[in-house]
Symmetry: C2
Subunit: 410 residues, 2 copies
Amino acid sequence: MTQLSRRRMLLGGAAAGVGAAALTACTAGLREDPEAATEAADRARLAIGSDTVPFHGAHQAGVTAEPPAHMTLVALHLREGADREAIRRLLTVLTDDAARLTQGRGALADTEPELAQTPARLTVTLGFGAELVRRVAGRDAVPTWLRPLPAFSIDALEDRWSGGDLLLQIAADDAVTVAHATRMLLKTARSTASLAWRQTGFRRSRGSEKPGTTMRNLFGNVDGTVNLRPQDDDFASKVWVTDGWLTGGTSLVIRRIQMDLEGWDRLDGPGRDQAIGRRQSDGAPLTGESEFDEPDFEAMGPHGFTVIPDFSHIARARGDDERPTMLRQSYNYDDDLTQNGAGTESDGEISDSGLLFLAYQADVDEGFVPVQRRLAELDLLNQWTTPIGSAVFAIPPGCEEGGFVGETLF
Amino acid sequence: MTQLSRRRMLLGGAAAGVGAAALTACTAGLREDPEAATEAADRARLAIGSDTVPFHGAHQAGVTAEPPAHMTLVALHLREGADREAIRRLLTVLTDDAARLTQGRGALADTEPELAQTPARLTVTLGFGAELVRRVAGRDAVPTWLRPLPAFSIDALEDRWSGGDLLLQIAADDAVTVAHATRMLLKTARSTASLAWRQTGFRRSRGSEKPGTTMRNLFGNVDGTVNLRPQDDDFASKVWVTDGWLTGGTSLVIRRIQMDLEGWDRLDGPGRDQAIGRRQSDGAPLTGESEFDEPDFEAMGPHGFTVIPDFSHIARARGDDERPTMLRQSYNYDDDLTQNGAGTESDGEISDSGLLFLAYQADVDEGFVPVQRRLAELDLLNQWTTPIGSAVFAIPPGCEEGGFVGETLF
């Protein structure tokens, strides 16, 4: 794959259309006409709203798409009477809604189709909990890893952010688009399933940063430097399931990690960098010059300790084989304490803020669990982070036109 | 003012920089090189993050800036001991923070300055409640309209969304920028004031729609067609206060209007259009062809009724002199019911969604109240909308470098 076509892929097919707009503008004679230049720039920007990510394909598109600015996660509980046939009907209609909405068309029974006309790279990704798989195909179809994660000592999990039988992951570069799609899909689902929880996250807006820039979390740290990338040789084997009904699918671990921003503020710069093992300023490992330099975990400092502390986050996160085991696509969250009661101002906290940690891997027990075990056991960062929500879903493969997401389970 | 310079003003000074980027790209020979075209478009888009709105000036910049995609409103209560001098110190530091953050620099004691480097048209607007004005300058300095609004029959106000002594309105095209600025400003304020409420709203992302497009609310309706615009002859007289310490300032009415999306869905298209007086599809008045056509409230239909129902929203909103009396800059909100407890799924509601209605006017009693009285008395739309929060603030004028917002009160 060439450099250019890879970039196009990561941009979700946007580049071609934008290039055309810029070309037209150029023909109009930009150099002589600043107003034409402005209009060309406006057109380039407007492509942010009209960009689409193809819905159909071997994999669900939301897994590998460059993460858009806004994401809503909705988990549903199946209603008591929802049997195999009801679930099939639900998945068929959800697939149809998703295929339309992601391409900028209203859902079948859309009461506000005007709000659907700005797809803004919308993706809709469905995930299944164990209960859904069991009701459709019996206990044997449930992957061994599709269960609540083992309890970690650092956890303070709350039911209201945990579990669920069916996941809708709705992401786009426009918050109105996400709100509308969420509402349409929930309307479709309501007769068969009820709301378990909803979580909303954000990253930098499209056009705020160069595509591919590692996101920073609300601690100010780059988050996701060591990550699987679609072009990596081991990407497919580590992300996609290769047998059974989930072939071409994956798993998704969702952790709501509350971050103690007030406590973090009391640390000085060097203290923060030691806890992470990277410099906050540029994301470089403490032994390196720039973000993507390989950390040297053996390098010793003047006082006989390693430069990167053994208990720092990056030292503990790294496993034996040095390659990442998950595709992380996390989002920031920043919710209002006056609303959700997760704390009070007198506790010294003024918001419920943190990270919606999302990780895809072919097998949760091989991808996520070993890393989390090492981190839970000992990671300086644990002092300022608390997992308060946890969920695991099987992410079925994609489907072709005329099919539906989850059809391989039937 | 020419068409071009007006547009530049509305774009918040962005156009010039973007034009330059496009020009450079053009010089590089776009026609022959699609990759160069892509890069030019990327650069045009990246200006979304680096765009700034000047902080200093006669008015606070957030009042007339083209509303960015994301807005957080924070209301604070002054602590008991916060006297005139403490308030002066607070306003001085908040002004300094705001001046820095809006220009893409970290706040003075910023622990995550990396998050400040993407201003994305950030504006920070301060507003004062009656209690703050009284503590600084005595009872006589409080404008007569700076009090809770008169009770309207349609209100179902909740304390947790109402009132406050000091308002921070923080808006930008990037949600990370808004989250970071909010956090820094709250940290500055904490010793003098405590959190009363926080509300977060959104509009279309920058680049999703043509600048100046009237927003659509979550009912799918265009919202804000008849609005004061900075270029209007009567803008200054209707928006800016012209005497006393508030000269060059204005007032802000904030209403949290919950919208019954489920109920609205049960209306058919014509029923919706009749309730509003405009077509949902294109926003045109029922007597017109396009959004900005003047509605004809006298035109009669075949059955002897006016084409635009007398009780429709636009008929009731319109006053005697036909000109708008407020500058409206509203945002959508869509909060999670599982968090804020505003309802339960079994009530038939799946979210707390609606409009953060914001209106600026020189005098609340002349600008907002008469309109709201007519609407509260009779407006078909009331059946699907409920004001659940309400607050009024005095918005002081802007300041020059070296000054602070609110200095005219001292």
